[in-house]
Symmetry: D3
Subunit: 239 residues, 6 copies
């Protein structure tokens, strides 16, 4: 499905995602029956990092000696290099590495290229290399591990913008990817704006609840909030 | 076994546990043949945190669609909510999540409620959600992972203050739980005071040994200390 | 093979290893067909630490009650104590713990002894105990986990300076061990100097590439560098 | 919940379960939104065995030296012994062993006792001991592994007829347990009769489909069957 | 790459593969530097089965509730159904299930359809359902496990005849797949005939060696065979 | 420790081990505090096989390209070939493969050589190759898996008759190894005869208990047997 055929995403989505947490997004997703949307074991290389953007995908398969060759890296058409060189601003590159942590799928120089192009971040269920360099760049990278080796002995990149799996979740190009210290969630594009808006609302309500609890309130009727608590919250917003 | 039937714990225990490390406590436990007392893979969400307190337990089983329902969360009798709302000061809530990391078993709002009530901390072999919020609270939480989702798709809370397993260790209500950067150990209540006292002694001796080694001493006769080293240590304490 | 029979290592090697990263070292090793040289899952206890030195090895096997006894720790001939007490300056102690994380293989007092003797660091596929103490020492320790318990219930040390496996890699005494935030690589002694020198060269070239990419250059022809980029790099060094 | 309070199960259920496969039962369960009902990795010790019956449950926790003692085995009130000695005819004993395969949870003598009492079988996510003896008895036992050791070093039995987890599935006393070569499924008691009846119907339809496919039919319109195929099936039953 | 563009495979290949074992094929592959060609953990559902044929591939990704729907199964264009319905004689269907064993990827009715069409077998790193039925059919199916559930809750089939990974090995349509009791190996199409021929030769030599060893010969000079043993073997073939 | 220095084993030991099961041996071992004596996950390639004999050990480490070479296999001094060629009658070869199942550590030709020499069997925590051939030989081989590839890409054999770990258990040359369908236990040489004798006694008592239970007896007082049951058993032996 070419990008141009995807339904557009409203600007408000990105505003909502500046504050919505993956915890609250996952709650909203679960309410809509979208349970298989939270990656397992994919965390920020540097705690505190956040990422939000549209997915562009890269699929790796296991390397095989008759097809894999480090010389591929010099070929601008090799999918790994092609997707990095051409990534659009705002995109999150999601890499399906089948959870194989025995090589780094990308390193700090390619991260620099993506950052310069305005990409929003990288998410993978594989390992990254150059972890120290990537951490010092403070550009958001989420992975399942680190490993010093380049990828060519373990992985072969075979496809860009296919439907893939990553961290146990199906990802399609154009889905909205959000990550923070709890991990990574995938918002299916068709519902991303609604989910993010509802989550932002929910986060504001939870901040109110959090303050009440911190002030000594019982959780009964407050978390989850009953009608009285919701009314109190609404009143507090009028001020 | 109701709490009131448990043998009391001396105040000195808590003084001892302010300084005793899990490493030394485990050494003392092993000397007494209590080897199955160290959890596997349960670590502080924020390195440097320490916890010590009496266990109150919560048991989760796998969720099943005919019994699990997010609406349970509004029921004050639902065990997860009940134990949090009513936790006594000084308690460590120990949650048996069967090592399943595919959902967060508790989040930052409930942590706030427990902290306000004076609970000592939380320990689980499952995952926590709202990791960023929990880390900023600096209240001690030990877990095997993090995950954004609420627990209701994966876990159903079924019992409070049962005998459970957590991180591979049997925990009974009233056992003494201690955690630091090496992980979590369980002191069976009947021996907790003696073990903690012996560990504190041992830690002081080891601090002396550490200083000697740092000053250039051989470890022979010093670590473990022979009679001469022990005498030297005793003499140093007279000063 | 006695140490004295090993081919000497040039001083330049250690200069090169002050700057060469494990990522680049692994690239050079792979180019030479030495793929099975990167440990899996062995990371610094304190991010940012680096280690480089000659391997001295210690082999653990599973403990068995008829042979294991905490009293062994007082015997200066017990391999664990012997290797620590006698370690030579510049050595990295590499400990084969079979990936078993259910006990700490060494703790902070023995680390102190090794640091005093001028050893370069410790690397193991087991767990360390006294993690907080070790982190505060800032002496380089790389491990696969942490655990509070002493090793005697799980491990028995049986041999010094044997050929071992660690983190899935064969290590011989005298091999060169290098670790940083990406993990640990093993440079076979016979090629260590050449590999380190090539890696340092490569790292300088990559720093040049990194600067170009950061300045907005495409990766095409630049990473990996083609002849023109290499010429530009060479020219930049003449300045 | 005492057994006497459970809604009765119709005799037809057991007739249906003589022929319904776990594959078809799981299909019917999934149609009703009951997805978390299939155990993972629990298989018959002897391929070809089938089991069906009402669950009675036993919960194990990790052993701890101050509470575990092989002498417990002589105590008729020890839950493991009590449940075996008193099991009712038609019951399947489901044992929650937390997936720990490092000891056998039950052996062939206790299997004999249960068989004599008319129990229907045993299901566990732990390991069994005396596998050769159990296989020769041809009485249905489903487990996740085998191990020679008695359970007392690894497990302590703590509760009978609690709600437990087994193989990742919640099991309550009175639920209906069915196992064959594909594994084990749990039919929640309230829907067991309907699910089994629907599955038996489905199995008969699938046998018809299987014959058509074996005779050379395309699967299109046949599997899954469209209205025409269903009509053909219904007609074939009139004969 | 359309099938018609693939280099043809000689008939002798299939004769060779009737006798060559995966053990010997893997030896020949390793000699040619093709090490990443042996799947991990993919075994025949019925010991003693053998399979050999050209790969046709099917790729599964994780299911997601907005895209997965059991109703897909009635759509002849759904990749799982399409590939089964249209499989060519002699093909082995290789299914990339990412090693996820939490559902059966195919069952006995679809196996029957493939067998009727003359397909050679199925290979997957996922689980099969209807294991008892499949075993009774004696048609070769190789998998990493069994599970009763249909695939739609865990997997979504997304592509036919793509390059995939299966059991850790890259597979392209047209590669030659061979399986026996040791597991499954992939012969890259371009070298399949040579590898199979060499393996058959090697197997004959090894049968000669096996007879010599069984008759009491030392392995020295015999296994691996030196020139004298090879000459003896050649002489034995002249008879 | 040379073989000649080992305390001799009585002939009665081997008689006892013809009937004693690993289940009962493990019970006797546990009674003596020897808990770390049961391997995990090491099972007969062909169910029903039994093995008993004195251990001779072989240690593998991970292969590394500068040291590993298939040409080693032609060197009679290569430890893998040397131990097979020279194995003594009655020995069980125990191979430490670190649980790595990514290659076969030995195959059917070498099994033939060992069988011809009168060795008692093979035990490994690695994988075997030529599983079909080995099963047809009916000579006892216990392993953790099967794999088609020869070992040289993954393993390098480095030592004969060292103290090793296998399946999580320490094994020394001369220890007594026993295996059946429940797995493999290690009897430390110094206690092997006593343990086997006690186990045989226990097995006879359990056969008596088994018959009583099969005849309808309660387990209370019978299993474990109280004094009355033991007296009854003793009386039954007088007949």
């Amino acid at each position: 499905m070419p990008d141009t055929d995807l339904p557009p995403l409203p600007a408000a989505l990105w505003e909502d995602l500046k504050v919505a947490t993956t915890a609250t997004l996952s709650t909203v997703l679960i309410r809509r029956g979208l349970r298989a949307t939270m990656m397992q074991g994919v965390l920020p290389l540097r705690p505190g990092m956040r990422v939000a953007g549209e997915a562009t995908t890269l699929r790796y398969v296991p390397a095989r000696e008759d097809l894999s060759d480090p010389a591929l890296l010099a070929n601008p058409q090799y999918p790994q290099r092609k997707v990095v060189e051409n990534v659009a601003a705002g995109k999150v590159l999601v890499v399906d590495a089948r959870g194989d942590l025995r090589a780094g799928i990308l390193g700090d120089i390619l991260m620099t290229r993506m950052a310069v192009r305005g990409a929003a971040g990288v998410v993978t269920d594989g390992a990254m290399r150059d972890a120290a360099g990537i951490r010092s760049q403070r550009w958001p990278v989420f992975a399942a591990g680190v490993h010093p080796a380049q990828h060519t002995d373990r992985h072969l990149a075979v496809g860009i913008d296919e439907t893939i799996g990553c961290g146990g979740v199906l990802v399609r190009p154009g889905d909205v990817i959000v990550g923070d210290d709890d991990g990574v969630v995938v918002l299916p594009r068709a519902v991303a704006a609604e989910v993010a808006s509802a989550a932002r609302e929910q986060d504001q309500l939870e901040a109110f609840v959090q303050r009440k609890i911190a002030a000594g309130s019982s959780i009964v009727g407050v978390y989850p909030p009953n009608d009285a608590t919701r009314a109190e919250y609404e009143a507090s917003r009028q001020v």
